[in-house]
């Protein structure tokens, strides 16, 4: 796929374009011919009930899982926040940030430090993950996805375990990312505030439908 094709599909520069994604495990079809374009600077939501295939789709978009059919094209660096908190219980917050700095080949930790401050868990920098609360673990899970300033951000139920204040901070952050040109995709089984999204989709029985009632 070429850059020209990516731009032409969405009508605006697409940061991520997935076409004809299907996934089946044996005879069970989880995703059927799903196509989605994430324009740069857009906040896109996918809602669906538990078991609708949301996480499977996100794992395919993130490159973690191979689809049975279809393709994914990506422009720029990718950030992915999985639904399950994937951290190392033995390492501290600071050690996680340093470890993922090496993974991303990031020159420094300025952005990571800023995120830790903004999400309000800087006092736990030297605390091992095993001693963190569920909410703090989720904040670190999110920080890791964001710390390398990705062009495309895929978030799977990102605000699970957040208190109200952190939930609001999260949306401030998401709005800033959108303003900076980042394509943000959030999947959730519940969307409290539809007006926050530029585009909203519903995933049901493995099929993705654009929700035109979104703001």
């Amino acid at each position: 796929m070429t850059a020209t094709q990516m731009e032409s599909v969405a009508g605006a520069p697409a940061a991520l374009l997935a076409q004809g994604i299907s996934k089946h495990y044996g005879r069970r079809r989880v995703l059927r011919d799903v196509s989605i374009s994430l324009p740069a600077g857009a906040l896109v939501g996918i809602v669906g009930e538990n078991g609708a295939g949301k996480s499977t789709l996100l794992r395919i978009l993130a490159g973690e899982l191979r689809p049975s059919a279809g393709s994914v094209a990506l422009r720029g660096a990718l950030g992915y926040c999985p639904q399950d908190v994937v951290l190392n219980e033995q390492l501290t917050v600071a050690q996680h940030l340093d470890y993922f700095r090496a993974a991303y080949r990031a020159p420094d930790l300025r952005r990571a430090d800023e995120l830790v401050e903004r999400l309000g868990y800087a006092r736990y920098r030297q605390t091992p993950v095993s001693a963190l609360s569920g909410g703090s673990k989720q904040k670190l899970n999110l920080t890791i996805a964001l710390m390398h300033r990705p062009a495309v951000l895929l978030l799977d139920e990102p605000y699970q375990g957040f208190d109200w204040e952190t939930y609001l901070r999260f949306w401030d952050l998401a709005s800033e990312l959108r303003a900076d040109g980042c394509a943000v995709l959030i999947i959730s089984h519940l969307v409290y505030d539809r007006s926050r999204f530029d585009q909203l989709y519903t995933l049901s029985d493995g099929e993705l439908r654009r929700d035109t009632t979104a703001a």
Partner: protein
């Protein structure tokens, strides 16, 4: 030109730097396994004491491979050596199993974020070698509380080679066995059978040719050489290293298969 997303985001970071970082965190993680560290500190001398107390000083024939002859060794001292081998293999096997199995999702995330699989694999190996060396050192030093062997460095070498074999076995089991209970059980049973059979005091079938094909055979030869002769059982050392390399290769293959991501998204622009 289209390249994969992973390649595009990887850049030109220093492989050595990434390897050192991963090795450091691998070691920190292993050191923070409090259960295993506690087991090592308390259980090792206790095991020496208990098994040593059970066996008296009667002579027993041991077939020493470098000379091809049977020679008489002290049953009590030989049992101390095999007790050390038993506890060291259990602890290193358990440590590597717990780390590999428990860290599978985390390793996959690191790889998805740009860590090279080979770098993480090399770091796991380095961590395993350091831990095997340190656990073997503690086992050798704790032995001094009960007996002074002829050559402590050679006893350490025997312990170290066995620790490498069982570290590699733990890595392999951690990469391929999904159930935690089944994995622990496998490490324990293999270690118990293997080290038990090497000791002619506990097992009348010891010294039989078939024991050459057991994982800790080579290490036992090196260890007994150090314990009673100052001699280096080089053949045994090579056999032990062969086991360690073969099991580590299989373990790394399992790790590679389990931790790889699709990374098939095409990167454009």
């Amino acid at each position: 030109m289209a390249v994969t997303s992973a390649e595009a985001t990887r850049g030109q970071g220093s492989i050595t730097g990434a390897w050192l970082t991963a090795t450091r965190y691998s070691l920190i993680e292993l050191a923070r396994n409090r259960f295993a560290v506690g087991l090592l500190i308390v259980f090792t001398p206790l095991w020496y004491f208990m098994l040593g107390a059970l066996i008296d000083n009667a002579p027993v024939a041991f077939k020493y491979a470098p000379t091809g002859a049977m020679f008489q060794v002290n049953s009590h001292q030989l049992t101390l050596l095999t007790a050390g081998l038993n506890v060291i293999t259990l602890i290193v096997g358990f440590l590597m199993f717990a780390q590999t199995r428990g860290g599978a999702a985390f390793d996959r995330r690191l790889i998805l974020c740009g860590y090279r699989q080979w770098t993480l694999m090399a770091a796991k190996l380095a961590g395993m070698v350091v831990v095997a060396a340190l656990v073997a050192l503690y086992g050798a030093l704790a032995l001094l509380l009960f007996w002074r062997p002829d050559s402590l460095p050679l006893v350490w070498l025997g312990f170290f080679s066995a620790a490498l074999i069982y570290g590699a076995l733990g890595l392999l089991i951690g990469a391929v066995v999904r159930s935690e209970v089944a994995g622990f059980f496998l490490v324990i049973m293999v270690s118990l059978f293997d080290t038990f059979f090497q000791n002619p005091v506990e097992n009348p079938l010891a010294n039989k040719p078939v024991l050459r094909y057991f994982p800790s055979y080579g290490s036992t030869q090196v260890m007994v050489g150090g314990g009673f002769t100052h001699g280096v059982a080089l053949g045994g050392l090579w056999v032990a290293l062969g086991w360690a390399v073969a099991l580590a290769a299989l373990g790394l293959l399992g790790f590679w298969l389990r931790s790889r991501a699709w990374n098939g998204a095409r990167h454009v622009g």
